[in-house]
């Protein structure tokens, strides 16, 4: 045990000895470890954002000023390829096809589309409308998929869509890296 012994002291005086009792200290440490181990979260869950917010009807009391519609990325999930179509209103601005090169990761066979993520980033750099750090709006992406597509494939596409990130400045002066796109489903 930890302790201090300064000798016998001599004569009739009692020796000056102060033993620090380590047992409560060790007990405390053991209890803390047990508590932390029991309360630890071993499987961490996270979330992927989607947005169903669509512009509502215009306010009848406000005067309407004609605005050019924003460019929107339409992402179509096909059987053998993805198509990335930039549209401004009804006008097609650009269209490219990306082959569906699926990669399976780990023992759980998690689907990944790294080629799609790269192409989406390139497309955003070429066509994206919100790139300034002070711009707090995100570019919109509409996901088109077949009704039979399994959810794990949709998540793999969303993961590729959220891979490109940009800096965004907040009013408190802080800067965060956020995904460049905000996604919503096409409802047909």
């Amino acid at each position: 045990m930890g302790g201090v012994d300064v000798g016998d002291g001599g004569g009739k005086k009692r020796s000056t000895n102060s033993d620090i009792n380590m047992i409560p200290f060790i007990d405390l440490l053991m209890v803390t470890i047990a508590f932390l181990l029991i309360t630890a979260v071993w499987t961490t869950n996270s979330r992927i954002n989607a947005d169903a917010q669509v512009p509502g009807p215009p306010d009848p009391n406000k005067e309407l000023t004609p605005q050019t519609p924003e460019k929107v990325l339409n992402l179509h999930i096909g059987d053998s390829e993805f198509s990335l179509v930039w549209k401004q209103g009804a006008t097609v601005v650009s269209e490219i096809k990306v082959p569906k090169n699926q990669i399976e990761v780990g023992d759980a066979k998690i689907i990944r589309y790294p080629d799609l993520a790269k192409k989406i980033e390139e497309e955003w750099k070429a066509q994206g409308g919100h790139r300034d750090p002070t711009d707090r709006k995100l570019d919109q992406c509409i996901l088109f998929s077949d009704n039979r597509t399994p959810f794990k494939e949709i998540v793999a596409v969303l993961d590729a869509l959220y891979a490109p990130k940009r800096d965004m400045k907040f009013p408190d002066g802080s800067t965060k890296k956020l995904p460049v796109f905000n996604m919503t489903f096409s409802v047909r």
Partner: protein, 192 residues
Amino acid sequence: MDRFSRKHHDPHAHVIHHPGRRLMHKVPLKFVWNKVSGHGRKNVGAALNLVSFIDFLVVTVIFLLMSFSASGEMTVDKNVKLPKAENVEDVVDAPMIAVNGNQILVDGVLAGSTRAIEELGRLQKIDELFALLKNKRELWKQLQPNKPFPGVCILQVDQNVPALVVKSVFQTAAFAGYPNVSFMVGKIPKAN
């Protein structure tokens, strides 16, 4: 006055002892004493070095405290196998809609059938889910009348559920006043 005499002055006198061996010290048997005190032989009373043990415990406590995180601690329906993703955000406190191969549940309450949507084969508004979510929204607004409603809900969707069901739930949630929908996923470390 006798009780204040020098003999009994120190109240802790009984707990402070001369350092030394303690093992089997109070056993009044000669052969035990011979064994314990050694008597020329190797002493059986081995002193444990606690310093390394305490160091280990302290390091373990510090590591666990540093890596401790309460976020992501959410109950997941046992019939739902979540897909996994890299580019994710931390979960927030919001109503949970679990969608497995058979049922749709809102915070554990049955709110629709997945099979019925699949059999119908087209996108539809799920009435039970809509009613439950609407009630939740109204309750939230009654409890916090001065705050703007965030409209966030989290979908725990099984990885094999078809897109038709996901879209139907997504659309119903939006109709019920929850346009900020998030999908719960398992987090995988980022590949370099």
